[in-house]
């Protein structure tokens, strides 16, 4: 995180607003809109398979963003993020089926409902930290999983519940190509909201709580409030992600939101970069694409080494585990840190600093 971001020559700041912009300079702005244009073009250029992967990256990315606010920015821990993700999925489906509110509105409402649940399960954070908090959130994971299996009125129990296809002014998001744009919209909204949050009062308060909670308190920050609020905001994004997932698959089943999934969310933010909004998306892409890449690799090598086909599932799982370990050892600041190094190198070339 300590990588300098040298400004190009001639970029002089003439007002304080210049320091708080989302995009620090012109290259940054152009780069962003270029990426956005690319993202908009994806369904026209690539086939359904790539689009479906992009949808997954977007949905998981939104949920992982929430976890990063909790873990990366506020310095807490959650082993129950997948359960909140699931709660969002069930909430949106339940709201839509039982009240008839259109899906486009139940998605944010699911986020709000999940916020409430997240804050309730976040209450222990007011008192405990670290390992103990991890165990408390593990309890949240199991309690919610149990709830999904039993609360038939809400989740349909073991049968699961159906989730309507969203529709906006007669336009139905019934294909991957179409749904992709809905996800892209929510990705943009979520990442914009989070970036804004992190450059205003409450975002700074989160980081202050993480970096030095004793002095944060002396600076007038109410630790209890911000610890629980962080769970709430984290769950909001998990809820949005979950809701998008439910309506994408058209069906929500209780089994999928397990502890392993929670750990995967953690892997995404560790690999992307703890405490980096943009890094979250990199890490999510990494985790979603790694198994695909391993599959590709196995297919490539299975000619000379046919036994690889049999162990392919293990290779996929192990690759994720290995990636987490490798990142923790060699790049604990995540992919975003790599990117910052490359950027600084590029700016300063041919000098090294």
């Amino acid at each position: 995180m300590a990588v300098s971001n040298p400004r190009p020559c001639g970029d002089f700041r003439t007002d304080y607003a210049g320091d708080t912009r989302l995009f620090s300079d012109r290259t940054h702005t152009i780069g962003f809109f270029f990426l956005l244009a690319l993202a908009l073009a994806v369904p026209f250029v690539f086939d359904g398979y790539v689009v479906s992967l992009m949808i997954l990256i977007g949905i998981y990315g939104i949920a992982a963003l929430g976890l990063n606010i909790l873990v990366g920015f506020t310095g807490q821990i959650s082993l129950g993020h997948a359960a909140f993700f699931g709660f969002g999925a069930f909430s949106s489906a339940w709201l839509n089926t039982n009240t008839g509110i259109p899906v486009m509105i139940t998605i944010p409402l699911a986020g709000v409902m999940t916020t409430a649940v997240g804050m309730i399960f976040g209450i222990p954070a007011a008192r405990i930290k670290g390992l103990y908090l991890a165990i408390a959130t593990l309890a949240a994971q199991f309690i919610l999983e149990d709830f999904f299996a039993r609360a038939e009125w809400f989740t349909g129990g073991s049968a699961g519940s159906l989730a309507e296809i969203p529709e906006l002014f007669g336009f139905t998001f019934d294909s991957d190509q179409r749904y992709y744009y809905l996800v892209l919209f929510w990705v943009c909204v979520s990442f914009l909201l989070a970036s804004n949050l992190m450059r205003s009062r409450d975002g700074r308060a989160f980081i202050a709580v993480r970096d030095h909670y004793l002095s944060a308190e002396v600076m007038g920050i109410n630790l209890t409030k911000y610890r629980i609020l962080s769970f709430g905001i984290s769950s909001f994004f998990a809820g949005i992600g979950g809701a998008l997932m439910g309506h994408y698959l058209g069906y929500v089943s209780a089994e999928s939101f397990n502890i392993l999934f929670s750990v995967l969310f953690l892997a995404m933010i560790i690999i992307g970069g703890l405490g980096s909004v943009a890094g979250t998306l990199l890490g999510t892409a990494f985790i979603v694409l790694l198994p695909q890449f391993m599959e590709f690799l196995v297919a490539l090598l299975s000619g000379p080494m046919p036994f690889l086909i049999d162990v392919q599932p293990y290779i996929k799982e192990m690759a994720i585990g290995a990636a987490i370990i490798i990142f923790l050892i060699f790049e604990p600041d995540g992919l975003i840190h790599r990117w910052q190094l490359i950027r600084a190198y590029w700016r300063l070339y041919p000098f090294s600093y």
Binding site: A2, D202, R210, D211, E217, V218, G220, G275
Partner: protein, 295 residues
């Protein structure tokens, strides 16, 4: 007086003088009528603090006048930091009370004390290491900012104007403490002396009435100490803050303090102007060993 008044002009002069005197007296009575809290920002009343068997503070009372620099000195482990922690709320004294602006601080949460106007720095650096210097100082303005996670997330429609307004205030503090060069640096990467200065900046950003400085010059070289002494003087003179300072460097303490209190094993053994304290026998004993020990 009227009897002496043979000459009109003379009489009116006397009356004038009389009036002026009356005025002065009136003002003086007004002053003494005002409760002591108007003059004293902080009063510690018979504060005792124990950790299990350890008596960190025993029956400590003192008062700090508005706008002065009040120093607390004493040996290592004398209870100086504990005293500040009682004021800032980290420790809760078992006995006694701390009166701030006429009201007891008992039961006030730690985070509410910034709003009450109490700011502090720490003996062991306590900056937000991963934040920029700017953001560190902005955190000091937490209680002055109104935007929250909702308006903050909708930056352009809520928080932007306010953030920029406070940023300008922070910039004034940066100018005051001459931190311009490092404003974008990550706080954790700065030198020790600079970090101490950023901590002071963060405490000033609270806009406190009372500022507590725990060894602001520890580990600094002479030049840095001189700068810091100047800044602390300006806290009184320019910003009108009341300062309570813990410091080991006696030269600095003598130079910039209005009053000094000496703690020894948790007890107050002397208090007064710097000269009085230096000439106090108990202080000489505590600091230099008893005369007969040496003899």
């Amino acid at each position: 007086m009227a009897a002496i008044c043979t000459n009109n002009a003379f009489c009116s002069i006397i009356l004038l003088v009389n009036n002026a005197n009356a005025c002065k007296i009136e003002r003086m009575t007004l002053n003494s009528n005002r409760s002591p809290e108007a003059e004293y920002v902080l009063a510690s009343e018979n504060v005792s603090l124990r950790f299990g068997g350890i008596k960190a503070l025993t029956d400590v009372s003192f008062r700090v006048r508005r706008g002065e620099t009040y120093s607390i000195i004493g040996m290592n482990g004398a209870g100086k930091t504990s005293m500040l922690n009682c004021i800032s709320g980290r420790y809760k004294p078992q006995e006694g009370e701390i009166i701030y602006l006429g009201k007891s601080l008992k039961g006030k949460s730690i985070n509410s004390r910034a709003q009450l106007g109490i700011g502090r720095t720490f003996q062991n650096l306590a900056l937000f290491g991963h934040m920029s210097v700017l953001d560190n100082i902005m955190v000091g303005r937490h209680h002055l900012l109104k935007n929250n996670f909702l308006t903050g997330s909708l930056y352009w429609f809520g928080a932007r104007q306010e953030e920029l307004r406070h940023r300008a205030k922070v910039e004034d503090i940066i100018d005051f403490l001459e931190l311009q060069q490092v404003r974008h640096a990550q706080a954790g990467t700065l030198s020790y002396g600079l970090r101490k200065r950023v901590e002071l900046a963060r405490a000033i950003a609270i806009e406190p009435e009372l500022i507590l400085l725990d060894e602001p010059m520890a580990g600094m070289n002479l030049e840095e100490k001189e700068d810091m002494a100047r800044y602390i003087n300006d806290l009184n003179a320019e910003l009108g803050m009341t300062v309570i300072m813990i410091e080991h460097d006696m030269g600095v303490v003598m130079d910039i303090s209005d009053h000094v209190m000496v703690l020894d094993f948790g007890c107050k053994i002397a208090e007064g102007s710097p000269e009085e304290v230096m000439n106090n026998d108990k202080v000489k004993d505590a600091y230099l060993g008893k005369a007969e020990d040496i003899a």
